[in-house]
């Protein structure tokens, strides 16, 4: 069974601080996606990483896929209250399990003004 472990589970920081969220697995994934979910809403896709070692930037968010495609990280620079939410990573293994996504349990981020 493929599992994705996210850490930390909870993170509470002040506006302007930097943070890193981790997503780890013992399995290799074809691609990995990061979503942000606000309370009472569905997850919103932020980015997809597909190549080992790949780095993608989305404004103040930097996403990295591990060289072996087993892990990923999300780094937020100068966090703002609008970054508050549940960050989910989801792995996809093309050709396996009919192509569904395996989700981690998420990191709940709170950024205080």
């Amino acid at each position: 069974t493929q599992l994705l472990e996210q850490s930390p589970q909870f993170l509470s920081i002040q506006e302007g601080e930097n943070l890193t969220v981790y997503c780890n697995s013992s399995s290799v994934f074809s691609s990995l996606q990061w979503y942000r979910q606000e309370p009472g809403e569905g997850p919103v896709l932020l980015v997809t990483v597909v190549t080992g070692g790949e780095v993608k930037k989305l404004k103040r968010l930097t996403f990295q896929f591990g060289d072996a495609r087993k892990d990923s990280s999300l780094h937020i620079t100068a966090a703002q209250p609008g970054d508050t939410g549940l960050y989910l990573c989801a792995g996809h293994n093309y050709g396996g399990s009919q192509g569904n996504l395996i989700f981690g349990k998420g990191t709940k981020l709170s950024v205080k003004p």
């Binding site: 074809s30 009472g40 809403e41 569905g42 009919q98 569904n100 349990k105």
Partner: protein, 115 residues
């Protein structure tokens, strides 16, 4: 901007009653997913459709849950009878096709509370 539509947004029911959720995927998306998300957890797949066919329903509790996508467009998920443990967020997602990346786009969800 194209979005996945879901209704209702909130549903409160008593145990042993029947409930139904509706989902309309992004136009042209052949693959549709229903997920259940318990508070504090990541979404877990219940059922996956490719057009009107079920591709994966291995995690669907078939004694009480059913799902259909008759014309390969919108879909309905039903629970009968509802149990206390079914209280959760039910999410629908769609993707263009079963691709290498499988980027899925989610609707706003239906929050179910079973009393």
């Amino acid at each position: 901007e194209a979005e996945v539509a879901q209704s209702p947004r909130y549903k409160i029911t008593e145990k042993s009653q029947a409930v139904a959720f509706w989902c309309d995927p992004i136009s042209g998306h052949a693959t549709l997913y229903w997920y259940r998300q318990i508070l504090g957890q990541g979404p877990e797949l219940l059922v996956q459709f490719q057009d009107e066919s079920v591709v994966d329903d291995s995690q669907l509790p078939k004694d009480r849950f059913s799902a259909e996508r008759l014309k390969g467009v919108d879909s309905t998920l039903k629970i009968q009878p509802a149990e206390l443990g079914d209280s959760a967020m039910y999410l629908c997602a769609s993707s263009l096709e079963l691709s290498f990346h499988n980027e899925q786009f989610f609707g706003p969800g239906t929050r179910l509370t079973v009393l």
